[in-house]
Symmetry: C2
Amino acid sequence: LREARIGHLATADGQGAPHIIPVCFVLDGQNLYSVLDQKPKRASLTRLRRVRNILANPQAALMVDHYEEAWDRLWYILVICRAELLQDGEDRAGAINLLRQKYDQYREMEIETNPVIKLTPHSVVTWGLDPETT
Amino acid sequence: LREARIGHLATADGQGAPHIIPVCFVLDGQNLYSVLDQKPKRASLTRLRRVRNILANPQAALMVDHYEEAWDRLWYILVICRAELLQDGEDRAGAINLLRQKYDQYREMEIETNPVIKLTPHSVVTWGLDPETT
């Protein structure tokens, strides 16, 4: 979970319609953080589907998994969590710093003031993981 | 979408709690199909979270995407769809055949009688795809 470069975040709107998006994220102790980086204008970031969903319904799920053609080597980690939008504060700034440590790509992007999605896990399901590699 | 080996399926339960799972799937004209293959006993297949969600709430989303470290090459295809469980019938058997054509791995698995999830798309969002490659 700490080393994975990409995960998939599922959210749902107030009517239970699911949405899914690939996300870069960082794990900080108990929580996971993902920054909104895909739109140039800050105002539009909070109109993203995942943000509107989180504001209407904080239930979320993050999937980190591995695919290869040898199906006996598949694995996944599913994190059921509560999602929250951080628009300011130390928590948000700290998450940006951690994301820049993990992803070189973020160091050159102007994301200092971008909102961050905080995911607080409340349960984890793992499947197919070799105990030796966890 | 046709060639992708793996996608991620998001569903949600009756209370809007999202779930996500990596899935192998096949595209047949308009619809997508995924077989329940991960449990040995047929009875337990319908207790899978994705199945219980679909029965309670048919709204679903399938994500097919590409990640690499060169972020200008990222892309995704998001298919918003209606999910349905096929327990028998020609549609189900045809889907199994198509899945076995696409995935060698399924040819050796005893999935002839397994339930299939049918996804009927009603909208598609694409992002980052080079028009030349679509």
